[in-house]
């Protein structure tokens, strides 16, 4: 089971858990309708569409409304700390949650109590706090962008707004150097999928693959394209692809969906997500080497 946890921009939404369903442009989680916009909703939507295509169970979503003041984020941390060992997901994806070093440490401790350690994925602020707390190595996958890899390579920064300006100014061609530094400083998860004009899939400091095609520069401007990549990785990991394969296919699929959508800087993330079934139908067999989708009861 894939469990995705994060906040959504609906101030009064209480802590809500359930199997995600798509209803037009909305997600339905335990009866609550959540617009498919940038952030955790985009991540869940991408994972859900992938799971539907692969005929595996839909992701379980654990969400709460938080517009940034962090009050509800803390209830989400507390729920996970208390319940994660019983939920015992196969894959746990942590996303937009107000960073709290002490509470993230407690989540990682609680995960140790799971009967089987889940595959741990962090993106967005969950990645920030995992790095700031010195817990990066506890995670299996981080999905940073070019600025965030500079953050992971900065020994002092606890948020990308405070990274050393020389690292921020680093040209993208120097990303491999930043990757090496991030691993040396223990600021990286076991596997990194670095999103950018060149996508890098890196395991334990070694670059396994770079992805550059199709080249759709407009994707960088579209809010949620990083979230969808994380959702794709999480769903493919839940389908038991090797993690590096999950990352490589996710990067390719996201780019191809941008091409199919004829992305412009004004494209909305739901238009990209809508392309995934067509992308999978055309390319997944070739990319994964698995050309039949199992039928589950």
């Amino acid at each position: 089971m894939l469990l995705i946890s994060g906040t959504v921009p609906i101030k009064d939404l209480p802590l809500t858990r359930g199997a995600a369903k798509l209803e037009g442009e909305f997600l339905n989680i335990d009866g609550s309708r959540i617009p498919c916009t940038q952030g955790t909703a985009a991540l869940i939507s991408a994972a859900l569409i992938t799971a539907e295509y692969l005929k595996i169970d839909p992701p379980q979503a654990l969400v709460v409304g938080d517009i940034g003041d962090g009050k509800k984020s803390r209830s989400l941390y507390e729920y996970l700390i208390k319940n994660i060992s019983n939920l015992s997901p196969d894959v746990l994806a942590l996303h937009y949650i107000l960073p709290d070093i002490a509470l993230m440490k407690k989540i990682c401790e609680a995960v140790e109590g799971c009967p089987k350690k889940p595959i741990m994925i962090a993106d967005a602020s969950s990645m920030y706090v995992a790095k700031a707390a010195g817990l990066a190595a506890k995670f299996d996958i981080f999905t940073p962008d070019a600025t965030e890899i500079a953050f992971l390579a900065d020994p002092d920064a606890t948020h990308p707004a405070y990274i050393n300006k020389h690292l921020f100014e680093t040209d993208v061609t120097r990303t491999p150097e930043l990757l090496t530094t991030a691993y040396q400083l223990k600021g990286a998860a076991r596997l990194l999928l670095v999103k950018g004009s060149i996508d890098y899939v890196v395991r334990d400091g070694n670059i396994l693959e770079t992805i550059t095609e199709p080249n759709v520069p407009e994707l960088e401007a579209i809010g949620g394209t990083g979230d969808t990549i994380t959702g794709l990785v999480a769903a493919f990991a839940d389908a038991e692809l090797e993690l590096h394969e999950a990352a490589i296919i996710a990067a390719r699929a996201n780019r191809m969906a941008g091409k199919y959508a004829q992305a412009t800087p004004a494209t909305r993330i739901r238009q990209i997500i809508a392309q995934f079934p067509a992308v999978f139908k055309k390319h997944l067999c070739e990319w994964s080497g698995a050309c039949s989708v199992p039928s589950h009861s």
Partner: protein, 177 residues
């Protein structure tokens, strides 16, 4: 006989608010706790010390919301600093030209607007919980009609988004609008 230990705060902050006077630090801590910010009073490390010997440790990501609260409540303080690093917020912005749109990147945030209409087309990057909320509030609005992240956001991501918005507004004005 039972000895009751005072429960130690498990809060681990990443930033520090420095004050001129001890009573200002104590007053600020009380205000912040009243607003449910996790904080604690600490002695600032010698390398960061300015003003008095008492500081308030905060979750640095909440810096912007705290600054706005202090302004609203007339709380005096000297500075907010990260506990580690050189203490300087990123000031650099980068601009990408998409022919009909400019994308402005400030720190980890990117804001894109239409060159012809001044409408915000998209916001991307970042990872704090106010970013999806700001996305909903800002995208589709004209640059000078969109709310400032500094006024409705809470986090360092929102502060970077505010910088991007200010740069977008400058670019729009430079274009003769």
């Amino acid at each position: 006989m039972m000895f009751k230990r005072k429960k130690k705060s498990s809060f681990e902050g990443s930033g520090l608010i420095l004050f001129d006077k001890v009573e200002e630090a104590i007053g600020a801590e009380k205000i912040l706790k009243g607003e449910n910010y996790p904080v604690k009073l600490v002695a600032p490390p010698p390398t960061l010390r300015k003003g008095c010997d008492l500081a308030v440790e905060i979750n640095l990501v909440e810096q912007m919301g705290i600054e706005r609260l202090f302004e609203k409540k007339d709380i005096l303080y000297l500075e907010i600093l990260p506990l580690k690093g050189d203490g300087e917020l990123l000031e650099i912005v980068k601009i990408t030209d998409f022919k009909d749109a400019f994308m402005v990147k400030a720190g980890n945030m990117k804001l894109t607007f239409d060159k012809n209409t001044g409408v915000i087309l998209n916001a991307s990057g970042g990872g704090c919980p106010d970013i999806p909320y700001l996305h909903v509030r800002m995208v589709g609005k004209k640059l000078f009609e969109a709310p400032r992240p500094k006024e409705i956001g809470f986090t360092l991501c929102a502060l970077m988004m505010d910088r991007a918005l200010m740069e977008c507004r400058e670019l729009w004005k430079e274009g003769g609008n």
